[in-house]
């Protein structure tokens, strides 16, 4: 059964006000197109979850969509701060305008997703023996190992309402194939109650079946499949287009004041109906970012 639909329909069907959502990706495969659609649909009260909330999460915060952020590293990688987040979390801001923060380290938040993906109530990890992260987050607890007697930290399962996973290619049923950096795509997909797969390319089921080791998310988990070329810009997709590093640098100035931030959102988010229109606006840049081919030979699945 085909689950193909527009981003507009995928978001309006799946993301309700007050939902907990993950738009996954670690530098690679961050679906800005989904974030922008959530902003356009004026979703409110969201709990936004990701190890590395970066620019698109900052945009969700600036646009007023986010009530709470669950994260482990919030910055503009290699550049600096997330300014909307800082404006809504620092002492210079009135408390009533701040968003709620629930904070882990990468390993801790990954462990929450691992528990969610495996159907377990919690996950153990050797971490947080000293330092302040566990002191300010009472969800981090510990167990005594029944075999060794060792005290081990635990975190509870995380099961987001919706996970949005971008991939290189998927079939119409949502069997999604990913290569390059995989972030926590598999963990969020198995942990979430609902999964939207967004693909650069829609391929036939036979293409998926020709290389089954490449499938990270099985279609059985997926409710919507969106075909969205360049859906990750300014993030990147291995084999399709490079990261727009210049944009990440320029973003620091764009996001510094609420005025320039609003101008950006007006032009590039509210000012376009969808990603296709966004792509049309940046077509020259898209040509520049397009990846040079580096084909791998493939493997023999015969028996």
């Amino acid at each position: 059964m085909s689950k193909l639909c527009s981003m507009k329909d995928a978001i309006s069907d799946s993301v309700n006000d007050g939902a907990s959502i993950v738009i996954d990706g670690f530098t690679h495969l961050i679906c800005f197109a989904a974030g922008h659609e959530i902003i356009r649909q004026e979703k409110r009260g969201l709990t936004a979850i990701r190890l590395t909330p970066d620019l698109v999460y900052d945009q969700l915060i600036e646009a007023g969509c986010v009530k709470k952020l669950v994260f482990s590293w919030a910055g503009n990688p290699g550049v600096g701060s997330l300014h909307a987040l800082r404006r809504r979390s620092e002492a210079s801001t009135p408390r009533e305008t701040r968003i709620e923060l629930e904070e882990y380290s990468h390993f801790g938040l990954l462990s929450r997703l691992l528990a969610g993906s495996a159907g377990l109530p919690f996950w153990p990890l050797k971490n947080y023996q000293g330092g302040d992260i566990a002191k300010v987050n009472d969800r981090i607890k510990s167990v005594t190992c029944p075999y060794t007697g060792e005290k081990i930290a635990t975190v509870p399962a995380l099961t987001p309402d919706v996970a949005i996973v971008h991939c290189q290619r998927a079939d119409a049923e949502g069997n999604a194939q990913v290569w390059g950096l995989m972030g926590s795509q598999k963990e969020v997909a198995f942990a979430a109650k609902k999964v939207i797969v967004v693909a650069e390319q829609i391929v036939g089921n036979d293409v998926v079946r020709s290389d089954p080791n490449r499938t990270v998310v099985p279609g059985m988990l997926v409710s919507h499949v969106v075909h969205e070329p360049f859906g990750c810009h300014p993030s990147y997709v291995q084999g399709f287009y490079d990261r727009d590093n210049d944009f990440y640098v320029a973003w620091d100035d764009i996001s510094k004041t609420t005025e320039s931030y609003a101008r950006y959102l007006d032009e590039w988010v509210y000012g376009v109906p969808d990603r296709a229109a966004y792509l049309k606006k940046m077509s020259a840049l898209a040509d520049k970012l397009r990846a040079k081919p580096r084909i791998c030979e493939g493997v023999d699945y015969g028996y």
């Binding site: 620092e90 002492a91 691992l114 023996q129 000293g130 330092g131 302040d132 300010v136 950096l181 995989m182």
Partner: protein, 259 residues
């Protein structure tokens, strides 16, 4: 190395730090690479005395040999020609927690005398003056790496009596030793700064062990927020020669991303 051509300017603080950090890396070391100067230090070591340095990035690249200086730890150049790409869960569980990482690199907004690091907040946690990015993988790297190298510029603002928040644990945390708390890694081995190098002696307290040529002990003490101990035999920290500086500027970081 080549010394014939004079440089327009001598080595900068960043170049000295990258060079000094690279000297800490041995050929074959399994190294957890961070972005910024650690990245440059690793690529310098790989281009000079440690060609088989084994670089792992928290993004999932294992045995990476990037052909351009990665702008982020998730750069696509880390994937191309890597030995293995794994999920982030695998990186933290199977490589780091499993004990396979020899060297980790960290920095921070604040450090105390025991090598505790703060990358979370300046001021009170629930009402911060500055909200910093947070831990990322830093906390677990500090817990598990067998050797931890810290790269930071020295000032009274950053080398503090007490961190506002301890994100990544050093040798002594709230009066308790890391070994007694059950942390498997060795903790900080060196702090490489723009003025000199700090080691950690008995009791886990930082000791000034090296200064760069032209830097006085008084200068270093003046840039430190606690009464800094000084080693009985203070050494001069090696500075990069012309060949290394050229390599850094012309080949490894021509866009001056980190230098």
């Amino acid at each position: 190395m080549a010394t014939e051509a004079a440089l327009p300017e001598g080595p900068t603080a960043s170049e000295r730090m990258a060079f000094r950090a690279a000297a800490e890396l041995h050929d074959g070391d399994v190294t957890f690479v961070g972005i910024g100067l650690p990245n440059l230090a690793c690529n310098l070591a790989r281009a000079t005395h440690a060609p088989r340095l084994f670089m792992i990035y928290e993004s999932g690249a294992v045995g990476a040999i990037p052909d351009r200086l990665p702008v982020s730890i998730g750069d696509p150049a880390l994937v191309t020609d890597s030995l293995q790409i794994v999920s982030q869960a695998d990186i933290f569980q199977c490589f780091l927690q499993r004990g396979l990482i020899e060297v980790g690199f960290l920095g921070g907004a604040q450090i105390d005398r025991y090598g505790n690091l703060n990358t979370t907040t300046i001021g009170a946690y629930d009402n911060p003056k500055v909200r910093l990015p947070g831990s990322g993988g830093a906390c677990e790297i500090a817990v598990h790496a067998r050797r931890l190298l810290i790269i930071m510029r020295m000032s009274k603002r950053t080398f503090v009596e007490k961190c506002d928040f301890i994100t990544s644990p050093g040798h002594v945390i709230d009066g308790k030793k890391r070994g007694d708390l059950g942390m498997p890694g060795g903790g900080p081995t060196r702090v490489i700064t723009d003025l000199g190098v700090l080691d950690f002696g008995e009791g886990g307290e930082a000791v000034l062990s090296e200064v760069y040529a032209g830097v006085t002990v008084e200068q270093v003490k003046a840039a430190c927020g606690w009464p800094l101990r000084v080693a009985a035999e203070l050494r001069e920290a090696a500075s990069p020669d012309v060949g290394v500086v050229k390599l850094l500027r012309e080949k490894l970081d021509p866009q001056r991303l980190y230098l």
